[in-house]
Symmetry: C2
Subunit: 334 residues, 2 copies
């Protein structure tokens, strides 16, 4: 039995999508046990009429919700009765719980996971690792992408280890190609941090370090894991998101400017929907906080039921592949 | 008279594009005097048959060319007879020369400018400032984007000043909206460097500091200048370049997968050529090395004649608007 907590609030489509996703996950995975946190009446209203195994689902009433603009470190203290903090508390106190899924405030989730759930033995700081689709049909992980903005080389080394184990465990990538985000591919390139990190990554056992990479190659499929400090990782992922979005907007604006272009787009309707589907991160799962004692998956704020289901499955895959044990073993061996 | 040196080698279309661009600039700007550096026989062959004012053009023979994979600091010592280093030497020794344009190795150009041409009084380190088009039809500058990878807050402050003066002088933007690249827009966000830099930017006289920005907003037109360390600025620009390119490639691949999509694209032919034109950085000028004693403009390696002409015009605009004097004045006032 794998116990997963689903924080039912904090997203654009909460609690509807969260509850629907949890129920879908429950019906597909007979090993799964779900605990829903949030306003009980609201959750019960969403469950109403749905078919699910009542022996494998429970609700913990936690009526408060965390706003996007609330300060993460404050929230941990003041919003103990929120759906997110109730879930965090379960992770902290109930050893039978494997992990949780949330679509709420990223900052609050990272802070609460680090401070309340705690780290695996040997982990300096938990890292935040989102996944993007690549142009060759694969995925690429970015570790760290915002949890630790001031990093030393030893931390980057740990990000390489944790990210590699994660991609092996949760995505079945046998020997993930890990690259160091840098301003050039030559080994001597970069700032002080990169120059100090490079030799540490070269020495790592069990990590397939392929050298430096330039950010323009992020989506090309050349790499499975990008190792970086949280500041530049955050720039990397948000720039990609922004550039792709602005490109699509520009295309749309241009198409709408003439009936001829519109007619052309009509012929390409299926193609555009396929591209949109390909770019929809909801299909690829959430971002995992790596190095915490439990597996915490952060879904996008706009997650639908399908996205929530994928996130819950991510916790299950991490648990059944013993990801955290492997991370501890890999860190102690390096 | 404005004297500009054009390094005629090092690009994909050199020396043809360089010579043609220089001749075009010469015929449009009667105040311009051009010095071409490179293999004289090759340059003469390109000039052959072209009409230009012989009193305003001279050639300095420098036959060596710098390769992309040569180490910048080595090149400065060993390739003194290269077209780039001959141009740099002119900037260093001839006070009547205003600046230069090159499409050769960026690393070598930045190193040579910093070490051989020298800095303006008060400048800690020269910065590299490329320009991108925004989705609202404007431009945005990124300062620094790779010249200084290890930065302190005082350097970022200087980048804000130099970038603002540049956008005013060379692009006529009256009060450029300068933002600090960060992982969130709230004033307390970021790593140690950003937290220390924020209050310094707030205090700056003559800089229109509008706060923190997230990289996903780079192309939206909300900002005129992005202030950042060279490492994250490099990630910012190369990620944008990569994401846009991969998006276009994906679109093309998809279009070619069906005759229906191809037919649609046929109707949109003009639109795609307009988008391509819009995204062509060659239309927006090169990247300027700010804070050096002379104005050095780096054009893209694939620059055509038109791009070279725009780069030469950039030096002229900086010179006639007394950009470097203004930078010195602004730095000493802050």
């Amino acid at each position: 039995m794998i116990k997963v907590v689903a924080d039912c609030f904090g997203g654009d489509h909460s609690p509807g999508a969260n509850v629907e996703g949890a129920v879908a996950a429950l019906s597909k995975n007979k090993e799964l046990y779900i605990i829903l946190t949030g306003d009980e009446a609201n959750i019960r209203a969403e469950l109403d009429g749905k078919k699910y195994d009542r022996d494998r689902l429970e609700i913990i009433h936690a009526p408060a919700v965390i706003g996007c603009d609330e300060k993460p470190t404050e929230v941990i203290k003041t919003k103990r009765d929120s759906s997110m903090m109730a879930a965090i508390d379960l992770l902290r106190t109930d050893e039978t719980v494997a992990g949780m899924v949330s679509v709420g405030s990223t900052g609050a989730l990272i802070a609460a996971t680090t401070l309340r759930v705690g780290r695996l033995p040997g982990v300096m700081r938990p890292a935040f690792c989102p996944i993007l689709p690549t142009m060759t049909g694969g995925i690429v992980g970015i570790c760290d992408s915002g949890a630790v903005v001031d990093c030393g080389p030893e931390m980057l080394k740990q990000f390489a280890v944790m990210g590699s184990v994660y991609l092996q465990s949760a995505f079945g990538i046998e020997s993930p190609r890990a690259a160091l985000l840098n301003i050039g591919t030559e080994s001597e390139k970069g700032d002080k941090l990169r120059k100090e990190t490079y030799p540490l990554l070269e020495e790592l056992e069990g990590v397939n370090f392929v050298g430096n990479m330039e950010s323009r190659d992020l989506l090309t499929g050349k790499y499975d894991l990008i190792v970086c400090d949280g500041f530049s990782g955050n720039v990397l992922i948000k720039t990609t998101e922004g550039a792709c979005l602005e490109m699509l907007k520009m295309l749309k604006k241009n198409i709408y400017s003439s009936w001829k272009y519109k007619l052309g787009a009509l012929l390409q309707k299926k193609m555009f929907s396929q591209i949109k589907d390909f770019m929809n991160y909801q299909n690829y799962g959430g971002s995992v906080i790596l190095g915490a004692r439990k597996t915490v998956v952060k879904g996008h704020g706009s997650s639908n039921a399908r996205a929530i289901e994928v996130c819950i499955d991510q916790v299950c895959r991490a648990e059944s592949s013993r990801m955290n044990e492997k991370i501890s073993a890999a860190l102690s061996g390096n």
